[in-house]
Structures are given as C-alpha cells and as structure tokens.
Amino acid sequence: MEILDYGFMQRALLASLMVGLVAPAVGIFLVQRRLSLLGDGLGHVALTGVAVGVLTSTAPVGTALIAAVLGAVLIELVRARGRTSGDVALAVLFYGGIAGGVVLLSLAPRGQATNLDAYLFGAITTTSTDDVATFAVITAIVVTVVWLLGQRLYAVSDDEEYARAVGLPVLALNTVLAALVAATVVLSMRVVGLLLISALMIVPSAIAQLLARSFRQALVLACGLGLVVSVSGTAVSYYTSTPSGGTIVLLAIALFLLVTAAVTLRDVTGHRRHRRRAVIHAAHPHDHGDDCGHPAVLHGDHVDYDHDGHLHAPHPTDAGVHYDEHGRHDITESPAGRSGT
C-alpha cells in the first residue's frame, strides 16, 4: 500500500493504533464513574505542559505528561477533600489549563514553530520516532495497570461507597485511574489531539455499552472499536487531507449513531411484534412480581413492571389482578430483560 511508503504515515498509524487501543480501555472506567469529562479537563491541562515544553525547548510530550499527571493527582485530592464539588474543580482545571497554555505559547519567541492546531486536533505529519518510543512505553504501562487493577478500578468506579466501606484503597485507585487518563491524554497528542481525546475515550465505550452484556465484554469491544476507528480515521485523513483527530472522532460518532439506530430499530420491531400478541394483556400468563424477570419501575406514585419497554401497572379487582397498560417509558436503560411471556 502506497500510504505505508511514507515514514511519517507509518509512525502516525502506529501512534493511532496505540491510542485507539488505550483510550477506551481507560475511558470505560470514566463512563462507569460518570466522570466522562475528566479526559477533556486533563487535555486542557496538558496544553499548559506543551507550552512549557515549547518555551524551554524540551520535548513537549514529556512536559505535557508531567503537567497532566500533576493535574490528575491534584483533582483527585480536591475531590477527596470534598469541600469543592468535583464539578467546580473540573471547571477550574479546564479553563486554567487552556488559559495557561495559550498565554504561555504566546510568549514563545517569534519564528518558533508552535502549531497549536496540530496539538489540539491532531495532524498525521507530526509524530516523531521519539514520540513513537514514548507512546509505546505509555501503552505498555497503561495496559499492564488495567490488566492488574481492572477489577478494582471497576469496583471503585461502579460503587465508590461500597468500595470504601469494605476497605479498598479508594483514593489510591482513583488517583491511579486519573494518572492513566493523564497518560492517555498525552498519547493522543499527535494523531488525535488534546481537545478531541476525550471523545476517543468515551464514544467507543458508549457504543460497547449498547451491545455488551458484561463489563468485560464491553471493555474488549470498546478497545476493538477504538482501534478500528483510530487506525482507519488516520488512514482516511491521509487521503482527504483533513486533521486526523477530527476525522477519527467523526468516524466514531458515525458508528455510534449507526449502532444506536440499529439497536432502536431492533427494540421497536420487537415491541411491535409483541403488541400484535395483545391477548397477553387480557389474560397475563403470570403475576408480575419480584421473580418474574420484568424489572419493576417507579412510575409516578406507583410501581409498574417493565414489559419489554412498556409498562404494566398491577391493578387489583374483584376478579384478581390484571395489568393496565401505562404506555412506553424510557426510564430503564435496557429493555433487554427476558420477555417472560
């Protein structure tokens, strides 16, 4: 293939392979923890690190790594103190990081190449051999840590309070996760860009979430999807001469919309098929209860049972219980429960 004849493309594709694999492996824990924007915040902080690198003529990948990891540790400490809400702490990090980066970069002597766009949105021509080596080390570290601590990171992200109650080192694990996010942000500096890395952490996980049945499955699927969109987006950007980061993210979002549409279609046709068998509702084959497999759902002031996406309201009469239809609902995420009928 012609595209592989160029050294810069080989390096760009290698970098995209690594970031595509690693970003979702870390991002899925952020999604689970409902802290999706942490990657974004640390991307902003990394920009300050880049600026320091440019000003002092050191490799910006290294200074960005230091800045992002410091920012990550700082924000976990602030969150653990609990005085400031995580929200405000993130906002300060966001704006402080980007403002610091922009101001510092403006101080760089004229004539020095400071291609801000390439850092923010990715560019395929920028990956150096040194960068590839650094990225390989970061990738190895992140993959090892996720392999070793993945179950604990899951536990803390899923139910922090429970983890604390049973004595898991919550602050340490949260800090490790934040540091992994920081490392991933730096990994993104060349082909994805600091402003877009968060998307590559979150979107593949969001797609996997729609398809997987277990957390492990979701993790593997997200990494696979991340790898595919990252490498193919980088290749496409070579032919279209568009910024690689933007291209990768658009590709990921297109995939997300496609899968969402497919899953919705599947649910809707399943629902319609079910509707046609309306007899079920006249004489429901079982009493809904704790064990029937239909999730119970709070509906206004009473409890209904989620029957493949529409609600059955238990309604006692002289003749026994029957079920009123209370329409469709969108409260539970997954109508994937057994139909039970």
Binding site: Y154, A165, V166, G167, S214, G289, D291, P316, S334, A336
Partner: protein
C-alpha cells in the same frame, strides 16, 4: 468485639446527627437497628463503616479504630439503595465478585476458592440461573438480592444491612431470613437496619432503637416493640399481589390514586 461506640458523635461535614452514643456489639450477635425515618439509623451504620464522619468519641470495628483498613475485607455491607446502577452493563457474577475483592489485597487475583464463594453467594439468594445475565435486566427485588449476595461473597465476620426488607415481597423476605439465619449460625455478626422485623424476628435477638439522634433503647428484641412505632402502620390486612416493588413502601402504594380507584 464486633462494634464498640463510646461517646460517639457521628454526622456529615461537621454537623452531628447521632450524638454521644454508646453501643457494644459482641461477635456473633444478631442486632436489629430500629427507629423512625430520620432518627439516625443509617448514619449510625455509616459511621461504623467509615462512610460518615466520627466527630468525637470512639468507634471501633472488629477491634480496630474505624479509619483502620486492616479487617475491612471482613465486612459485608448492603446499602440502603434499591438497585444496582452502572452506566456500563455488568453481569450478576461481576457485581457479586466485587464483594470478594477487598479480601485479596491490592494485586491478588481471585483463586478457585474466591470464585466458589461468589457462586455460593449467588446461590444463597436464589439467582444461580441469572449468573451471566446483565444486572439491569433483573427486577428491582432481584437487584436487591444481588447486593445481598455481594455482601455475602466476602464471607464476612460482620454483616451490615440497611433496610434489606424494604420493597421486597414476602417470599423474598423469607428467603432472606433463611440466608441470614444460616450466616448467623456460622458465627457472623449481624446488624440489620429495618422498619419491619417481620420475617427476621426469628433471626435477630437484640434491638437498638434510634430516636432523634440518640439511642433510646438497647435490649432484647421483644422489649423494643413499643419503641418501633414510626407512623408507618403495617398493612398486613391489605396484601398486595406480586409485592409492592422497590422504591416504595406499602403505605404509599395503598394511598396511590391508581390503587384507590380499584375494583373496576
């Protein structure tokens, strides 16, 4: 000693909710924590678990001050929360597996014995056939049982449950009572916060009644009944087929317009 409170004030931020409480629970005891809504039951157990601040006095768990992580892997906890909520799907086995993690240290991998403990815990709550199903596909009551299994998987020395009976149908309450009886017979200390003693009256022997942030009664379960009036009258006279479901107690359901308009 499983739990020791001496002049303990427990609260949130720097506001004490439970004030100057003394309480000793010996290993192997089975204690009910009773009291009306807002009396401080949850705050009491959260203090013991290190989730609420100890503002003054002493709180010791399994012989260590509450901040100490040493024996925490030996604690099981069922929070006062009705469902499992995670953005990413997880199976019953994965959620219950978390209950075992704290015993393994920071890097320990689960061994055969750990996997067996997880399977046994799921079996104890009667969900073996749902082991590989995503938790989100289970009913509210089943999700509640998943959280019980998570606590059991630790094979805990101290098992703390916050309102495990709320919103669970009678059959599941009896299942839970059987599980707790077995756990208690195995030597585990039980602390169960509850509104309704119901099926648990055969398991729990001692009662602690909280009232407006202090302990109003501590003694045999039978002697606690005059204290446990909380404005919520039990509705045993109005059985609800299929159970009331989660997130709602029976009083609210009985008052709902939908129900009141019944008999069509």
């Amino acid at each position: 000693m499983a739990i020791r409170l001496r002049g303990a004030s427990i609260g949130y931020g720097d506001v004490p909710i439970l004030r100057d409480a003394d309480l000793t629970v010996q290993r192997g005891e089975a204690v009910a924590v009773l009291g009306s809504n807002g009396s401080g039951k949850t705050t009491l157990v959260r203090g013991v678990l290190g989730l609420a601040s100890v503002l003054s006095g002493v709180v010791e768990v399994l012989g260590h001050p509450v901040g100490h992580r040493g024996e925490r892997g030996r604690v099981g906890y069922v929070p006062q929360r009705h469902t499992v909520s995670g953005a990413v799907p997880a199976t019953v086995r994965e959620v219950v597996g978390v209950g075992r993690l704290a015993r393994l240290g920071l890097f320990g991998r689960p061994r055969a014995a750990d996997r067996a403990a997880v399977i046994d815990a799921v079996a104890a709550v009667g969900l073996t056939d749902r082991l590989k199903d995503p938790v989100a596909a289970l009913s509210g009551g089943q999700q509640r049982r998943v959280l019980v299994a998570r606590a059991l998987a630790a094979e805990p020395d101290l098992l703390i449950m916050d309102e495990p009976m709320a919103g669970v149908d009678t059959a599941s309450q009896e299942t839970l009572a059987r599980v707790l009886a077995a756990v208690s017979a195995g030597g585990t200390t039980l602390v169960v916060v509850t509104h309704e003693i119901g099926a648990l009256s055969g398991v729990l022997t001692r009662a602690v009644v909280a009232d407006h942030g202090s302990i109003a009664y501590d003694g045999p379960l039978a002697g606690a009944l005059p204290f446990s009036t909380d404005g919520h009258h039990h509705r045993d006279d109005q059985p609800m087929p299929g159970g009331p479901g989660p997130g709602l107690d029976q009083v609210h359901l009985a008052r709902s317009p939908h129900r009141a308009a019944g008999g069509r």
